[in-house]
């Protein structure tokens, strides 16, 4: 079990994701990446799917990455890292490497839920010793806010815009965290940058476990969410407090909710902060907000039951 780390200790560690990257002001992704890298006490090697984080962090001949980093294509961060990790095992077995290295992949929701899903599923099933982190901002933000299978129901995107006939996305999000848990891998978790201690603890725990691990981290995008640039932490906190993004972990099949909001806020509190849901507040669409609330309530109930099932 990894030792807990204090904020003071974290503040003294070297930032492995350097300033000067070209992500948007107020983007959640670099906050998540910094927290993840700070959490580790190990030598790290990272892979990155094509996306906002990748195009903004390594524009030749500059790089924001102070650790070895590889970008291959959009849909194959997991497969690429599985190759890196396998070479590491091979060279270690041959005595050509002696250091202990941990491997982390970063992908957005497009590169993880959609186009990279097969590659991720394959790498997890094969049991590679790696942590895959999805920074989920709920759409293809790099190409300009197109709908993904992680886009929440009702959200306005550029490929499923809210119009006079179509009220934004008409389908529910894919529950990727649960799908990854169904791979029966040793560790799966959801985290949020608003709850940094929880996020850091989860990364530290994941890195202690040998085998494939998956973490899904909610990552506000003010361009796509149509929100204020200084609201990334506030919005990710609201995502947690409304149970839109419950914080939990599934360790060796056992579900544990790691943060329970004292008072579960209505989903409208989360929706009204973002322009992508603006149309839902028109009188004719309000029924949709009820539908979203119902689905969140149902999922939250289910999660609590899953946890209770193991507690008893």
């Amino acid at each position: 079990m990894a030792k807990a780390v204090t904020l003071k200790e974290l503040s003294k560690k070297e930032l492995l994701f350097a300033p000067g990257h070209r992500l948007c002001a107020g983007c959640g992704a670099p906050i998540v990446v910094k927290m993840v890298l700070l959490a580790s006490d190990y030598h790290l090697v990272a892979a990155n799917a094509t996306g906002c984080l990748e195009v903004s962090s390594c524009i030749s001949d500059y790089t924001a990455w102070k650790i070895p980093w590889i970008h291959n294509a959009f849909e194959n961060a997991a497969a690429t890292l599985s190759g890196v990790e396998t070479m590491y095992r091979s060279l270690k077995k041959q005595g050509k490497i002696d250091k202990e290295i941990k491997f982390i992949a970063f992908g957005g929701d497009g590169g993880t839920y959609d186009i990279g899903f097969q590659s991720l599923s394959g790498a997890m099933e094969r049991g590679h010793d790696m942590l895959y982190i999805c920074y989920d901002n709920g759409a293809y933000m790099n190409t300009g806010i197109q709908r993904s299978s992680a886009t929440p129901f009702g959200a306005d995107t550029t490929t499923r815009p809210a119009g006079s006939v179509v009220p934004g996305k008409t389908e529910q999000r894919k529950n990727l965290t649960k799908i990854m848990a169904a791979h029966n891998i040793p560790y799966v978790a959801q985290a949020s940058p608003s709850h940094w201690a929880d996020l850091v603890r989860k990364v530290r725990k994941a890195l202690e476990i040998t085998g494939p691990k998956f973490m899904n981290i909610v990552t506000p995008c003010n361009r796509g969410w149509r929100s204020r640039t200084d609201d990334a932490i506030t919005l990710s906190r609201l995502a947690v407090d409304t149970c839109y993004w419950p914080l939990y972990e599934i360790e060796n099949g056992v579900t544990k909710i790691t943060f329970r909001p004292r008072e579960k806020k209505p989903i409208a509190d989360f929706l009204k902060t973002q322009g992508r849901f603006k149309h839902l507040f028109k009188p004719e669409n309000e029924v949709l907000i009820g539908k979203i609330q119902e689905s969140i309530d149902r999922e939250w109930e289910k999660l609590q039951k899953e946890e209770a099932c193991f507690a008893s």
Binding site: A47, C58, H71, A73, G83, E85, Y88, S90, S121, R126
Partner: protein, 393 residues
């Protein structure tokens, strides 16, 4: 001591890979390559190689994992055919653009649709502009020898490019032939230790692989890649020289057969070259000056050398086991035409498409073509510049 064996092409190449003993192998089944990776997997299971194998969930992930493993800093192999190579297409460019010396035997097979599992060259021809080096092999012996030489070519410090070794699906991959194996030690000494270049796993010198390069430097990057291509033929010849010392077998950029004093010739890749050589002999026996050229290094294509070898001929037929749709002619024809264009005096060049989807190429086909060339030289009339042969009308 060389060992004489009777093996299939797949078995021969699997044995070459075993003797090289790479660090990582990514494998995914596809007919007719499957047997090769199955055999290699047995070597892994029986501890005959040190290789760590990744049994990926697709060829796309196979090539992606190869890129990761090779960038990490070690010797990496995979193998594929047909649809598998097509699925890798995107990552083939990334492997070459990242200058990773991945070695990949390709057991050539037709592309769908319609679905067909038999041998033709459509798969590797579709990948001819991906920046990979391509070696082509007539038989199991050549496939084995090319595989061993491929590591030295790809990993050469002046080159560092991925390489595919082509052999005909079923005709070579599944037929048993007599051939010679080198000793394990000989192969090991020949390929040597893998020398890594900017390995990702070097923590003291952290590197970033796969940057974004826009209008400012992308073109310089591409030009540098083109410059490297020009160094490949020299390295291929140097490696062949060393290989000859070891094996007694001679390799060049291409093979010529009774070509020096020939007036007419066939240009043909891979297994069908063997059939054609027999027919060339028949024509020589009749006093007709026939010859043959079989490309070996197909990418980068040795335009100058091939042009020199062919310029004295009167008429040449390029036989393509793939068509380049919309390009009017088969892919090899277009390259040969380019090779000959600089010469004022050059042979008349015709193109035949043969053997698609595993359709048999028979001695009669070679006879038909050579007779047409004889006629063409006689009366100066070209019947047709491009034609499908061995096909129902």
């Amino acid at each position: 001591m060389a060992k004489i064996v009777a093996v299939t092409g797949n078995e021969a190449v699997a044995n070459a890979l075993k003797q090289v003993n790479p660090d990582v192998c990514a494998a995914y089944p596809i007919t007719p390559q499957t047997e090769m990776m199955q055999r290699f997997s047995s070597f892994v299971s029986d501890g005959k190689v040190k290789t760590e194998i990744i049994l990926v969930e697709s060829e796309h992930s196979s090539m992606s994992a190869c890129v990761g493993a090779c960038a990490a800093g070690g010797r990496v192999i995979t193998a594929t055919s047909s649809q598998g190579l097509a699925l890798m297409y995107e990552i083939l460019y990334i492997a070459s653009g990242t200058r990773l010396p991945i070695v990949m035997p390709v057991v050539n097979r037709a592309l769908s649709a319609p679905l067909n599992i038999h041998g033709d060259h459509s798969d590797s021809m579709g990948a001819r502009d991906t920046g990979w080096i391509q070696l082509w092999s007539e038989n199991a012996q050549e496939a084995y020898d090319n595989t061993i030489q491929a590591f030295r070519i790809a990993e050469h410090m002046d080159i560092r490019l991925p390489i595919m070794i082509n052999m005909d699906g079923f005709i070579i991959s599944h037929s048993i032939e007599r051939m010679e194996y080198l000793d394990d030690d000989q192969v090991q000494n020949f390929v040597g230790e893998f020398k890594s270049l900017n390995p990702l796993l070097d923590l003291e010198h952290p590197v970033s692989y796969g940057p974004l390069i826009l209008t400012d430097y992308y073109m310089e990057f591409r030009k540098a890649q083109d410059d490297v291509e020009s160094k490949v033929p020299g390295v291929v010849l140097d490696v062949a020289k060393d290989f000859e010392k070891l094996s007694g077998r001679t390799y060049g950029l291409f093979e010529t057969y009774r070509l020096d004093d020939a007036e007419i010739a066939l240009i043909i890749l891979n297994s069908a070259a063997g059939t054609s050589k027999d027919v060339v002999d028949e024509f020589r026996d009749k006093g007709i000056k026939a010859g043959l050229l079989k490309p070996r290094l197909y990418r980068p294509f040795p335009y100058k050398e091939i042009g020199e070898a062919l310029k004295h001929l009167k008429a040449v037929c390029v036989l393509d086991r793939a068509d380049a749709f919309g390009g009017s002619f088969g892919p090899v024809y277009m390259d040969i035409a380019t090779s000959l264009y600089p010469y004022k005096e050059r042979p008349v060049l015709i193109n035949k498409i043969y053997g698609l989807g595993g359709r048999d190429y028979l001695p009669d086909h070679a006879k038909l073509v050579l007779n047409e060339l004889v006629e063409l030289v006689g009366n100066g009339t070209v019947k047709s510049y491009k034609e499908y042969i061995g096909v129902r009308e």
